[in-house]
């Protein structure tokens, strides 16, 4: 399959006072066309910073991409200047964020907010047909009554509807890549399942590539074609979803699966836990960053950072256990 996005050795650092926080440290991931890449990890592991680095939406002050390469659709994004990048943001690469109520502008109607995207990115849409165009866009994301909802303000919509509007806004310019950062975390389960269905449907219909970031292992497992597990600013496991679900290799990935309370369990048995806490960025342990919490660590783990080993052709895992196997 053709790669749409290829990130290689990306490093995004924060410079704070005198210290350096390595938010994204040597991350390499790729997304094929028309596929969903799920990125999982706990808070502070660098998922969001990786996503923001792609279209350089980093939070200014003291945060910069130090090195690496981001190839997207034949272009090197890191070589583009701001003006050139602006043409790609929103039109070829679109984002949907976690909190729909804070992402939408409370004083503009849905129509005004959608129209803004159209005017900026879809030059071929004429002003006199814009209404029809917007209604179709809202209907495409499953909003009933689109013709009247179009004039509503964000506070008049429910959480699920707001997130649908966000998705409509993201896909209205027919992007190639949709980056969804925890898009369902703030929603109820029944609404979440509808939004997940919608994303899957859009991927199939529009041939979108999706980077789906979540801390919920189940959501990612249900949706993704590929799964990338991040820990402390690094990719620790990256493989086709099926292979990863059947055979998680990294002790951290295994640990995550083990500490999920299962729906079918009878309850009241102790959950397996991963001891300790995620290290604070900027204060990573030496050697493998997971070793203080790992039950399988040995001497080398404390000394040396493991590289990503490639197993069974396309399963990548960052763990010394897989050195010779």
């Amino acid at each position: 399959m053709e790669k749409l996005l290829e990130i290689k050795n990306l490093k995004t650092y924060f410079y704070q006072d005198s210290s350096i926080v390595k938010a994204v440290d040597d991350v390499s991931i790729s997304i094929e066309k028309n596929s969903i890449l799920g990125v999982v990890g706990e808070s502070g592991c660098g998922k969001t910073m990786t996503a923001l680095s792609i279209a350089r939406l980093l939070p200014g002050a003291g945060c910069e991409i130090v090195s690496g390469s981001i190839r997207f659709d034949g272009m090197e994004l890191l070589d583009l200047n701001n003006e050139e990048l602006r043409k790609i943001r929103g039109s070829k690469i679109a984002y949907v964020f976690q909190e729909p109520s804070t992402s939408l502008n409370p004083v503009l109607s849905i129509k005004e907010q959608l129209a803004e995207v159209v005017l900026l990115h879809c030059l071929d849409i004429h002003a006199d047909i814009i209404d029809d165009f917007l209604i179709k866009a809202l209907e495409a994301v499953g909003i009933s009554n689109a013709a009247s909802k179009m004039f509503a303000y964000p506070h008049q919509l429910s959480g699920g509807e707001k997130q649908r509007v966000m998705i409509a806004m993201a896909i209205i310019s027919k992007p190639l890549l949709l980056i969804a950062d925890e898009p369902t975390t703030a929603l109820d389960v029944t609404i979440q399942s509808q939004i997940l269905d919608l994303i899957l449907e859009l991927k199939e219909k529009l041939g979108l590539a999706v980077m789906f970031i979540s801390h919920d292992l189940n959501v990612v497992a249900q949706l993704s074609d590929y799964i990338c597990v991040m820990y402390a600013g690094q990719v620790v496991e990256f493989s086709p979803a099926k292979a990863l679900l059947e055979n998680p290799m990294h002790p951290y990935t295994k640990g995550l699966f083990d500490c999920l309370p299962l729906f079918k369990d009878k309850g009241k048995d102790k959950l397996n836990e991963i001891p300790g806490e995620v290290p604070k960025s900027g204060d990573f342990p030496k050697g493998c960053r997971f070793h203080p919490r790992c039950s399988k660590k040995f001497e080398r783990c404390e000394r040396e950072m493991p590289p990503l080993f490639v197993k069974n052709k396309n399963q990548e895992v960052r763990c010394w256990l897989y050195l010779n196997s």
Binding site: E42, S144, E161, A221, A241, F263, E277, V278
Partner: protein, 331 residues
Amino acid sequence: MALLKLLDITKFYESRESIFSLNTGLNRAVYKVNINIKHGTTLGLVGESGCGKSTLAKIILKLLKPTSGTVLFEDENITDLRENDFRLRRRDIQIVFQDPYSSLSPRLRIKSIIAEPLIAFKMPPQEIDARVRELISQVGLNEVHLDRLPHQLSGGERQRVGIARALATSPKLLVLDEAVSSLDLSTQAQVLNLLEDLQKKYQLTYLFIAHNLSVVRHISDEVAVMYKGEIVEQGESNIVYNNPLHPYTRLLISSMPSPEKRGKRESVKNIEGSEQRELKACSFYANCPKHEDKCKSQLPGLVEIEPGHWVRCLKAANSEKRPRDEGRSLR
């Protein structure tokens, strides 16, 4: 013995179109809820946002006055107790909040946060220090944390502090309002295990409020499912999960993300937007995939369909028992 009994608890909120309008409407937040929690057990309360879970918690803690209904704690009616008389009771009922970031005062050191309820209940000052040290070790932290400020702790550590503070007065009932929802996966498992250990050690009774069905199943002996202020299904956890009978419970369960649903796309009906409800109809009527004509004109009551399994649904009540293992394949 039931430690806590809720009898027909109902709470209406007044609502106005705008602050200037004279017409007030009533919003039904909780409607005729009956719950018993036995001593030393956990009742899981599940439901989506806005279904009245937190209102119920506040009523139990007497932070809100119910419109009608009675709360019995150890067979004593606490609903109408005056604040002064309730003070002594208050130490028996404590709460742990969802967000460990906003529920701890950012300017107090951890030891002061944990000591505060002790001071409020007039523990002799010379004993406080020892009690705080005891509490901090009970929740799996150590004494170096005592001199820290909340921002110096991680989310999991803060939630442990929240639990320590709730335990300070040796309560009998702990209300856990989405207490693990904002935690990371690995920390969530740690805190769940801690809660279970504490329950065993001190015979605590929990009201565990959450929206995550797997977590609720894991920790609860009994579950109650709420929808729009009403309890729609209630019973022993294994019975309800193995044989969910209310269409809403089934919808919740089938909406849960899981690896087993890979590649499948079943369009769940959009259950939003149909808010106008008729007072005579079942509250789930508009969204129910199996509704019949009678559901529109008849209010379903909570019926015991099999021993210990209560369902508020006319159809389920009529079709009597179903094979037990239906729904068992659901994850």
